[in-house]
Symmetry: C2
Subunit: 242 residues, 2 copies
DNA sequence: AGAGCCATTATTCTCGAGATTATTTGATAA
DNA sequence: TTATCAAATAATCTCGAGAATAATGGCTCT
């Protein structure tokens, strides 16, 4: 889950996960709508209009928007309000390549210094993801939510052994940003791809403590959607509002 | 300068840099006080008390605090207010090593793809920094502000050729966080260190387009304060409130 | 017709007060 | 004395309205 993972200190063992504050639940609702595209990239976010929709006061809504700005999902423009962050192939490439650098680095650190507890929780996350992916074969699209969660949990488990809070925080931001693109790319994924196989390769190499192999598989895995985007955006240039 | 570098879209060529909004100027004032230690690490930030000091309303102050949270200078704790982020050797190590990874990567990209304009502005930044460092020999401490600005400008110029906005944004956050530590470590710097020599080595290798050498020098340069901290925190353990 | 300027409108920004929640204090009982 | 509980205090969170600023539309002049 890890809502607000980037800012709110999830003290303790992330026990309380219900949105206790109105700002927080507005933040979650807005983020959901941005990621799912209800609030399209580049669109203006007028406080007066949004407070009707999300049933909160103006100040509360502004705070939620500020919180989203720190996730780079919305942009604050001086004295001229808020906008949903734009999407572009260029931006996606940036997100992807930065993720490759940080996530591979973090995985390497995990492999070097991760203990038994880390390994165990990784095994658990991989198992869970496998089950979801198994069921995914039958009902491909409507289970996206569940797969997305399991996938995120797996990627977080991979780097949980890395003791750099900075790195994990940045990766969480990047992962959230990438989710917008994943949703757009999902209907256009090639039949040939076997995501489970990719996850398995990463997992096996990690358990073997083979850092070079693991980071290699991970890099390819992260870059897959980017190359996929490149391929079909040549044919259909304005799939994303470029 | 680059206030608010991490969130506010500095559209255009960062033309307007005066704090036009009250939230923004409160943000700047608070950040200054946090970085300079007037608001010590771990201290509670009570809105009612702070609104007296900074002469703004409660909502405005809250927004400024939210902005600082996205720089990781402040921590939001559920329904229990705001605190200045803690400082610890462990945290500084994390910041430093993450910076090494990202900044070296960014420098490599700059060297690979940076054009003449990038090179020219780098030369300018290095020249300016040299001048400040020259004057620094005479008046060591009270010019810290000016040196800090020139130093930041130089580091930003190094990676300006890298076209990854994500990377630059993350580095800006890390640099701001590190500033708190630099200020603590400044009085304890070893006489032997010649910072200008370090900058010169990075600069020369970069202009030579020797990526390996440049990133090597840069990594050592970034890590210097960390090793310095390690050295004298063994002797004087509680210099930082660990 | 096109460009520049002023009044109008719409939106953002800011504030102070009330509602909600956490913390502290003090009292009672085991 | 220590632990438990309840009232009192203090803090945060939330809201709606008023001030400051940007965007819009119409008007005049060349």
């Amino acid at each position: 889950m890890a809502d607000h993972s980037t800012i709110i200190s999830d003290s303790a063992a992330s026990a309380d996960r219900e949105p206790k504050t109105l700002v927080h639940s507005a933040y979650l609702a807005l983020r959901k709508d941005i990621i799912e595209g209800q609030l399209p990239p580049g669109s203006k976010l007028k406080v007066e209009a949004l407070k009707e929709i999300y049933k909160v006061g103006a100040g509360t809504l502004r705070e939620a928007l500020l919180l989203l700005a720190s996730d780079a999902l919305i942009v604050i423009q001086g004295q001229r309000g808020f906008r949903v962050a734009e999407m572009s192939p260029c931006d996606f490439r940036d997100i992807t390549e930065t993720r490759v650098v940080l996530e591979c680095h973090a995985l390497r650190m995990s492999i070097l210094s991760g203990g038994d507890a880390w390994e165990a929780s990784l095994v658990a996350a991989f198992h869970l993801l496998g089950r979801v992916e198994q069921r995914l074969g039958d009902h491909p699209d409507d289970m996206f939510e569940e797969w997305e969660n399991a996938n995120k949990a797996f990627h977080e488990a991979l780097i949980a052994g890395c003791d750099s809070a900075c790195t994990r925080r940045f990766l969480s931001i990047l992962y959230n940003q990438a989710e917008r693109y994943r949703r757009v790319l999902l209907p256009n994924r090639p039949k040939s791809r076997n995501v489970h196989r990719e996850h398995e390769a990463i997992f096996a190499a990690t358990i073997d403590r083979d850092a070079d192999a693991a980071t290699g598989f991970l890099a390819d895995h992260i870059r897959f959607n980017l190359q996929n985007l490149k391929k079909f955006s040549d044919a259909i240039p304005d799939t994303l509002a470029i």
